[in-house]
């Protein structure tokens, strides 16, 4: 079987439309909205702040705590029961690990940086959108970070290696591999790698390389969102 043309007409190395805004939740220390196609993620950062219960405190450095959730009305199909599920707990954890390599938390012993991710609308690529939003929100909160992190899914549908699978592609009949990855901007190294489906080794490597190339577009959008926040009211820097 072959996959001659993408269902929505995109090129193999083309992501869906991307949009981001920083500072959208005033009460939070940092926040962002990140949209890729129809998947929208909000992220809010609080911290560094007091951490309870005490046994979680690390006297050597601060910790990051991620809580990922989909809003009950966010998915195609039935209502999603609110509350943590095994899936959302796993996504919270891998998101944490995806962000950790860039964070400098030694300045904050015993404290916590809380990251909350909520999705009002989903169409595949949710954990990636969450990571992208969280990365902007952390920078917006003034957390010391070596770099930004961006995430996107790569994979294969039949004979094609492509980027940013949407819901229909994930559900495609035939051989599909859905590979969410997160990449650190300067080094190009991976901080998230998971896979669902079937894939040959060569295809995997090709997919990862495709991801590295195309993810630069996402970094541009993240950078723009942060810088725009400071130009919005004032029409330009000095």
């Amino acid at each position: 079987m072959t996959y001659p043309k993408r269902i929505d007409g995109r090129k193999l190395n083309e992501t869906r439309e991307i949009e981001a805004k920083a500072g959208i939740i005033k009460r939070a220390d940092g926040s962002a909205m990140f949209r890729i196609g129809k998947t929208v993620a909000y992220a809010a950062v609080y911290g560094p702040r007091n951490l309870y219960p005490r046994f979680l405190q690390n006297p050597r450095e601060g910790i990051i705590r991620v809580n990922y959730a989909m809003m009950p009305f966010s998915s195609k199909g039935e209502r999603v029961r609110p509350g943590p599920s095994r899936r959302s707990k796993e996504i919270s954890m891998v998101t944490e690990k995806a962000l950790l390599p860039v964070l400098n938390l030694e300045e904050f012993p015993n404290a916590v940086v809380d990251v909350f991710i909520e999705l009002p609308q989903t169409d595949a690529g949710t954990r990636c959108a969450g990571i992208c939003a969280a990365s902007i929100a952390l920078a917006d909160a003034g957390i010391p970070m070596k770099d930004l992190v961006a995430a996107v899914s790569v994979g294969r549908v039949d004979d094609k290696i492509l980027v940013d699978l949407n819901y229909d592609e994930e559900a495609f009949e035939g051989k599909v591999a859905d590979i969410p990855i997160a990449i650190i901007q300067r080094t190009g190294e991976l901080s998230l790698l998971q896979m669902d489906g079937e894939i040959e080794k060569e295809q995997l490597i090709e997919a990862l390389k495709l991801g590295q190339e195309t993810i630069t577009k996402i970094f541009e959008v993240q950078k723009k969102a942060l810088k725009e926040k400071y130009h919005a009211e004032n029409g330009g820097e000095e």
């Binding site: 911290g47 007091n50 860039v102 012993p109």
Partner: protein, 245 residues
């Protein structure tokens, strides 16, 4: 020969390359990655000769010895008070650092400071675990009565105070409000409510536009328009953060 990749005082984000060349020195908010200097904070890049640093635009207060802060009493024990410092680390104020009066054992300390009181205090020590010790013994350090306390961006405090206190002086003069600015991002204000609102609006403007040039002029214009008062030239008084005017 190395080169600088960004304009001085432009906004940079974590991971952004600022300069390349071994002759540059990474200072606050930057780090060296092989021969490049890279930002590790969201802020304005400041290039001073070969030293490159970031003036952060965001981030919670990082307690430092010598800072004068505004703290809120969270708890009273038999030997002192626990003070909320508007960051992840509470502070301890012990009786001996609070007053030179003799305080007998078993005295009810709430007669000095009670829960929810706001204090102007000075940080005397910060341990490696960020435990903070405060003192109330010193000029201008005192309990604050009346007025209200608002949160401001701790990174903008230097702009709110201004060179030698010029900015905050201008606001006080125009609005007739008493203002104390804590390094920890808490600001106390007391005046006629209408004037307080104007002062706070000016302060919010400073927070939003602190990275743009011509700020002082714009704030002066805003204050003159809002209060109808003409603002005199600032004569370079030494601003003691902890003094009321």
């Amino acid at each position: 020969m190395g080169q600088i990749s960004v304009e001085n005082k432009s906004i940079v984000i974590p991971g952004e390359e600022l300069a390349s060349g071994m002759e540059f020195l990474p200072s606050f908010g930057t780090y060296r990655d092989r021969d490049k200097i890279v930002a590790s904070r969201l802020g304005l890049v400041s290039i001073d000769g070969k030293i490159i640093k970031i003036i952060p635009l965001a981030g919670k207060y990082n307690p430092k010895r010598g800072d004068v802060i505004i703290g809120k009493v969270e708890d009273v024990s038999y030997s002192g008070w626990r003070i909320n410092t508007n960051c992840a680390y509470p502070a301890m104020l012990s009786v001996k650092d609070a007053t030179s009066e003799f305080v007998g054992r078993g005295t009810d300390l709430t007669q000095f400071f009670d829960v929810d009181d706001y204090l102007v205090a000075k940080i005397v020590n910060v341990t490696s675990q960020k435990l903070i010790d405060l003192t109330m013994r010193g000029p201008g350090l005192r309990k604050l009565s009346g007025g209200r306390v608002i949160e401001v961006n701790t990174n903008k405090v230097p702009r709110i105070i201004g060179k030698q206190g010029s900015m905050v002086h201008m606001i006080k003069q125009a609005t007739d409000c008493k203002i104390v600015v804590g390094q920890n991002g808490l600001l106390w204000i007391l005046g006629e409510l209408k004037s307080e609102l104007i002062a706070i609006e000016a302060i919010r403007k400073i927070e939003q536009e602190s990275h743009l040039s011509g700020l002082t002029e714009r704030i002066k214009e805003f204050l003159e328009k809002a209060t109808g008062k003409k603002i005199e030239e600032f004569k370079g008084e030494q601003n003691d953060l902890s003094q009321e005017n």
